[in-house]
């Protein structure tokens, strides 16, 4: 059994009468990349803020790097690095000054500071921007700088709250490379993200959060396998009838509406064998299939399955609409 770097038991957090985090428990082991997925407002940032001591702990037990959050918050601060969800930089400082400032705040000796700044500027490929003011950096460069800053003190755990938000695909995949490298060097990584592929590719384990609770947790392949072997997308002339008919089939584990005209069927056996049988059953029942597609479940499907919606970043309106539709 690996060493536990983060141990959270029964963590709850409320803002007035809003329960943002509701009895959350999980473990992160040394050397792991652990991801939190969840729709906007799920409570991911609140968990991070409590774990990184920015919010007071209200209920529950948290131990990070062997230190109790209630008793030794300062020891925990020393042991962690943080990349916040919002940009937390001074536009009027240079790249090197930003790192230097962080090193000083954390009490690194001068020689080590100099060495780390050189190393990290190289790691995140900002050598050319070393003495450039932050207001002249692109969004991706700022994010890289923030990651470098989080690594200044060689933290035991690095917390990243949506580290790749708003980055182009190339920059994103480069960021993954840095993070993989950092992780290989032994830093445990805790991250939240809205990108399913990112969670899938980077993480050893994923927890899906919704409404302040962890709904499911596991390794990416476990989560995907739990949805069954294949996903079948169907369009028919009578979706209601199809739902009833397929619901009686033993190999079918679920039928959900998908989009305006489609249905998503999860099955527990090999789709290549089962699909012809299902189609035959539907034909005998007088349903005409007008479209069909079959694929292996992705993280998107897992997310969709557990939260009842696909992740979207369209802002509060669509979020509100989804909210009111649920339960």
């Amino acid at each position: 059994m690996q060493e536990e770097v983060i141990r959270v038991d029964g963590l709850s957090h409320r803002f007035d009468d809003l329960i943002a985090v509701d009895n959350v428990s999980f473990r992160v082991h040394s050397g792991e990349v652990f991801s939190f997925l969840g729709p906007n407002g799920a409570g991911k940032s609140t968990v991070i803020n409590v774990l990184t001591t920015l919010l007071p702990i209200q209920e529950g037990e948290v131990v990070i790097a062997g230190r109790d959050l209630r008793r030794e918050p300062d020891r925990i601060r020393e042991a962690i690095g943080i990349v916040f969800q919002e940009v937390t930089l001074d536009r009027d400082m240079t790249v090197a000054e930003t790192l230097e400032f962080h090193g000083r705040l954390y009490g690194l000796p001068r020689a080590e500071r100099r060495e780390r700044v050189d190393e990290l500027v190289t790691l995140v490929e900002l050598e050319a921007k070393r003495d450039v003011l932050i207001k002249y950096l692109s969004g991706g460069m700022k994010r890289r700088l923030e990651i470098a800053r989080g690594l200044m003190t060689r933290p035991t755990v690095l917390f990243l709250d949506e580290p790749t938000i708003g980055l182009d695909p190339q920059t994103r995949s480069r960021m993954w490379d840095y993070l993989r490298g950092v992780n290989k060097e032994g830093t445990t990584i805790f991250l939240t993200t809205h990108y399913m592929d990112e969670a899938d590719q980077l993480s050893n384990r994923i927890a899906i959060m919704d409404n302040g609770r962890i709904i499911t947790e596991g390794r990416p392949y476990q989560l995907k396998n739990a949805l069954g072997q294949d996903l079948i997308y169907l369009e028919t002339d009578d979706n209601g009838r199809t739902q009833t008919v397929l619901g009686t089939q033993p190999s079918v584990t679920g039928v959900r509406r998908k989009g305006a005209a489609g249905l998503l069927v999860t099955i527990s056996e090999d789709g290549t064998r089962i699909l012809p049988r299902l189609l035959e059953t539907l034909r005998l029942d007088g349903v005409t299939v007008t479209g069909i597609n079959m694929k292996k479940p992705s993280m998107d499907d897992v997310f969709m399955h557990h939260t009842g919606r696909e992740i979207r970043d369209e802002g509060p309106e669509s979020f509100g609409a989804v909210r009111s539709r649920r339960r």
Binding site: L54, D74, D90, R104, L105
Partner: protein
């Protein structure tokens, strides 16, 4: 001992010298006050004062010399009151979250800002002194070099404690405010009575009793008293009046400023300790 307030200080100074235009205007503006307001006022005041016969043995100074202490004090007041503003910007758009998440006592934040307030105010006071002397302010008149040094040290001592008091106050306000506009409003509201209910520009003896009381507890009055004591002397006449500041007056004034700084320090420390930046 935790000396990381020097880190906070370092960063504040970095920004201070970076904004050239702001730096320049903060240095030139008080000089302009002195040049225009001072010279305009002294040409009329000095004409009236010259009709009053001089008391033998008491040096008479012109209005420019009299109000120079007021200009130094006012400048220190403005600079210090705006010194905490950076905390508000940091809170809303910048680095405060990063500073708050560091394993460092929060008192360092307050102390670092205080130190940078002292530095800025002393630089400004020095510039006004120099410029004033060029314009004809009769500070340190008849002082030996040694006495001049003592006087300058004394003035900067008063400037420093006064600056601390208002930087801390400003920091405490900044942490309680949401927007720079709101803070600006509070600052304006504060500076008016502080500046005008004081002995900066005119003697307080002619004030109505209520205003005299306000003036007596006004830190600016104590600041001006200290500067005049060191720069002009314990006894002098100006605008047709005789001013006497005893050593006891001086100690009381210094004590009052220290007390003020201690109270605002406690206030700022409390605000920064309970602040939640997420």
């Amino acid at each position: 001992m935790d000396r990381r307030f020097l880190t906070v200080y370092w960063r504040d100074m970095l920004r201070y010298v970076r904004f050239r235009a702001l730096l320049f205007s903060s240095l030139v503006q008080p000089a302009l006050w002195l040049a225009f307001f001072g010279i305009a006022m002294s040409s009329s005041f000095d004409a009236i004062a010259s009709q009053v016969p001089t008391v033998p043995g008491i040096p008479r100074v012109g209005y420019l010399t009299f109000m120079c202490a007021g200009v130094i004090s006012m400048t220190t007041l403005f600079t210090s009151l705006f010194g905490g503003m950076s905390l508000l910007f940091d809170k809303n758009w910048g680095l405060l979250r990063e500073v708050m998440a560091a394993p460092m006592a929060r008192s360092n934040i307050v102390l670092g800002m205080g130190l940078s307030g002292i530095t800025k105010s002393c630089i400004q006071a020095g510039i006004i002194l120099l410029f004033g002397l060029l314009l004809g302010v009769r500070f340190f008149d008849g002082y030996s070099p040694f006495q001049t040094v003592i006087a300058i040290v004394g003035i900067l001592g008063f400037v420093s404690v006064f600056a601390l008091g208002f930087v801390f106050l400003s920091a405490a306000i900044a942490l309680s405010m949401e927007s720079p506009e709101g803070m600006q409003g509070i600052m304006t509201l504060l500076t008016m009575p502080i500046f005008f209910a004081s002995n900066a520009l005119y003697p307080i003896e002619a004030f109505p009793p209520v205003l005299q009381m306000v003036s007596a507890i006004n830190p600016l009055t104590h600041m001006v008293t200290g500067i005049r004591y060191f720069a002009i002397g314990p006894e002098f006449s100006a605008i047709g009046r005789t001013f006497t500041y005893s050593t006891t007056d001086l100690m009381v004034s210094f004590g009052a400023l220290c007390l003020f700084a201690a109270i605002t320090f406690a206030l700022a420390l409390y605000r920064v300790r309970v602040a939640r930046i997420t």
